[in-house]
């Protein structure tokens, strides 16, 4: 018999069915790295004492480990709404834990589960990250020179460069030929980005992306279809050249 849904009488949060809580936890527990990241917990708190995010957020790696270790399904689900996104992923907690737990690694497993379940919190939190996602999925680079602008980072100083010149000229003045670029960090071989896209397809990453941001997924699919066509054309031409040589 199904258990009654879990609700919070003093908040307006929607009621979550117990089956959903179970499914979310099962996705976490069945993650291939779960047993590698969690071994036990004495509540010593050294992880939280050394955690940078605990200085600034209502976040505690000790709490995350305890919720998972005690299989507190409601607490796990609640932590996935906001707390897990506070972790700075420095792994200081993991380096110091006497049990060899990795709270930072557990947070990543929970983030993956939050994305799989399309939790609104994940969508909200990842909205500013969409430029990085577009770049990494379509080129394999996560950052590009033309992403660093005064408008995007007004708190980083008056100028992006202390020498005033057009970006493309400044980039060509870098004495490494692969870095004469503005929209990728280095010149990306067409074959490379096509291969990477295959990895995304084969590992379910595109499904994650579609769950979290359907529009971004559509844009990336169009971009990559063009790249695949361009590479297929090049391969065809290359084969002709080879045949001609023979």
């Amino acid at each position: 018999m199904a258990r009654a849904p879990i609700g919070d009488p003093v908040s307006n949060s929607p009621v979550v069915a117990y089956e959903t809580l179970e499914q979310v936890f099962e996705d976490i527990r069945s993650h291939p790295l779960y047993d590698h990241e969690l071994h036990g917990c004495l509540n010593c708190g050294i992880c939280t004492a050394t955690c940078p995010s605990a200085h600034y957020y209502d976040y505690s790696p000790r709490e995350i480990v305890q919720l998972l270790w005690t299989e507190n399904l409601e607490g796990i689900y609640e932590a996935m709404q906001e707390k897990i996104w506070a972790c700075a992923q420095c792994y200081t907690c993991a380096a110091r834990c006497p049990f060899d737990n990795s709270p930072g690694g557990l947070v990543m497993i929970m983030r993956e589960a939050a994305i799989k379940h399309g939790m609104p919190s994940a969508k909200d939190v990842l909205r500013p990250f969409s430029r990085v996602l577009l770049k990494v999925i379509s080129t394999g680079n996560q950052l590009a020179p033309n992403m660093i602008t005064r408008d995007a980072f007004p708190d980083w100083g008056a100028n992006v460069s202390k020498v005033d010149a057009p970006l493309d000229v400044l980039r060509k003045a870098i004495p490494v030929p692969t870095m004469h670029t503005t929209d990728t960090a280095w010149v990306v071989n067409l074959k490379t980005s096509v291969e990477l896209y295959t990895i995304w397809e084969e590992t379910g990453v595109l499904q994650q992306l579609e769950t979290i941001d359907e529009n971004l997924f559509d844009v990336i699919r169009d971009v990559m279809d063009e790249k695949r066509d361009a590479y297929a054309e090049w391969l065809e031409e290359h084969e002709k050249e080879t045949a001609g040589d023979a």
Partner: protein
């Protein structure tokens, strides 16, 4: 009282059952001192029962015919270093394949440029090519988009390319050995190697994908003998580099920010050396600075991260800049009286460098120059601060520091501005022949021609 303090954030993150200890100042100092004598030492990492060297698994799997190993051979001129437990790690010093960092190339271009310049100076043979992706782990740690299979597949795809790359120059497979620039890539790849060696299922999942890409060796996954970070190359080459120095660093007080993903992830693989900070700090960068003649100054928050946060640097910068300023920059300036802070990772240098300017809004003006270990090493060996070390991309004020080194930065800046006119006219100076950088696909020059371009320009 306790509730009042919690509501002010004094115990944020510790959970509702926490109560303040109400220690007196003396008691608090004694407690802190007790903790520091234990946790502020390398023994924190070594005082554990579980000690496993995954390389033992790797050699067994190779013997069983399950995997192939990209071995470090004499042609790579390896130098042996010692890791956390005293294990040997062979660092290749020649025939290196540069696995670039997207954050460095996109944002701190003087970082990889300085490294390649030092290699030219030491007549190291290398390949910098376009057939490589980033590790994609910044995105993963920031967003959760990705998974262990995708990260492992990206790792082995890139390392397979490193293994095969020399064929484009008519040279044998395995000629170039991958040298990883980014700290997050280094940590992530070490983790992935560990997971792959432990999991038959993961190996099979990745093997199917790499088979589809044509990236197996004799039908097997190719695992690197070692995952090597560029800072490890600098470390084992620190004396030859120091022989090239033309600037005296003896008056310089340098602090080091050790990067979390370099030494907290897979810590057993990290180099420690009893002659560097008594063996209690990761040896890379500090050892180089010692050899270059600088004063390496310890500071109480050396263990803290920089505040990068992966997601936070993009979407929650108040955390990033607050942590960077209050826990790192301020301490380095006020406690260590540092002239400079040196790093060995992409995100840390970006964070610590870019987030100082906004401190003006809160009267937190520290003006601490931030740069990578290889940038400082290049400067000390005579590299041009703008044309080569590309310091104009740095937001922290480095000009006063250059003056302390005896470098006329105004003259150097004027020289660079004049050079930009040459660049605009198409007269560009590079560290190597650009034809070498494309090894397949559009733009590839056939081996017979490319082989002529294997020597540096």
């Amino acid at each position: 009282m306790a509730d009042d303090k919690r509501s002010e954030g004094a115990f944020a993150g510790f959970g509702p059952e926490w109560r303040p200890a109400n220690l007196s100042p003396d008691e608090a100092r004694a407690a802190t001192a007790w903790v520091e004598t234990r946790i502020d030492r390398r023994s924190l990492l070594t005082g554990r029962d579980q000690v496993e060297d995954v390389r033992d698994i790797m050699w067994q799997l190779e013997k069983d015919g399950e995997i192939a190993v990209h071995r470090i051979t004499e042609q790579h001129e390896p130098v042996t270093a010692r890791t956390l437990y005293g294990w040997k790690k062979r660092i290749p010093t020649n025939h290196l394949w540069h696995h670039k960092s997207c954050g460095q190339c996109g944002n701190i271009p003087g970082y990889p440029t300085s490294l390649l310049w030092l290699m030219n100076k030491l007549e190291t043979r290398y390949l910098d090519e376009t057939d490589q992706t980033s590790c994609t782990a910044w995105n993963y740690h920031g967003s959760g988009i990705g998974n262990v299979v995708s990260l492992a597949a990206v790792f082995l795809r890139n390392f397979h390319q490193a293994y095969m790359s020399a064929k484009a120059q008519g040279l044998p497979e395995g000629y170039y050995y991958p040298l990883v620039h980014c700290g997050t890539s280094f940590g992530n790849y070490k983790e992935m190697r560990c997971f792959l060696l432990h999991s038959t299922k993961l190996r099979e999942q990745v093997r199917k994908i790499l088979a589809k890409l044509g990236r197996l060796v004799d039908g097997k996954l190719l695992i690197p003998e070692e995952v090597v970070h560029y800072s490890e190359w600098l470390h084992v080459m620190r004396e030859p580099i120091a022989e090239k120095r033309v600037i005296d660093l003896s008056r310089v007080r340098a602090t080091v920010h050790p990067a979390c993903h370099v030494y907290k992830m897979v810590p057993e693989d990290v180099i420690y050396d009893d002659t560097v900070m008594d063996g209690n700090r990761v040896a890379v960068s500090s050892g180089l600075l010692q050899s270059l003649g600088a004063q390496v100054i310890d500071y109480s928050t050396w263990y803290d991260c920089c505040g990068f946060g992966f997601r936070h640097i993009i979407g929650e910068r108040e955390f990033t800049r607050s942590f960077a300023i209050d826990r790192k920059i301020k301490v380095a300036v006020e406690e260590a009286r540092a002239d400079v802070m040196i790093g060995h990772d992409t995100g840390c240098i970006t964070t610590l460098d870019k987030n100082q300017w906004i401190g003006r809004a809160a009267d937190k003006v520290y003006e601490l120059p931030i740069m990578a270990d290889c940038q400082l090493a290049a400067l000390v060996c005579g590299a041009h601060p703008y044309k080569l070390a590309q310091l104009h991309w740095h937001a922290s004020p480095f000009e006063g520091f250059l003056e302390k080194l005896g470098i006329d930065w105004q003259k150097a800046k004027a020289e660079f501005e004049a050079y930009l006119k040459e660049v605009a006219a198409g007269r560009i100076e590079t560290l190597y022949d650009a034809r070498r950088s494309i090894t397949s696909g559009p733009g590839f020059v056939r081996p017979a021609i490319a082989a002529k371009g294997t020597e540096r320009a």
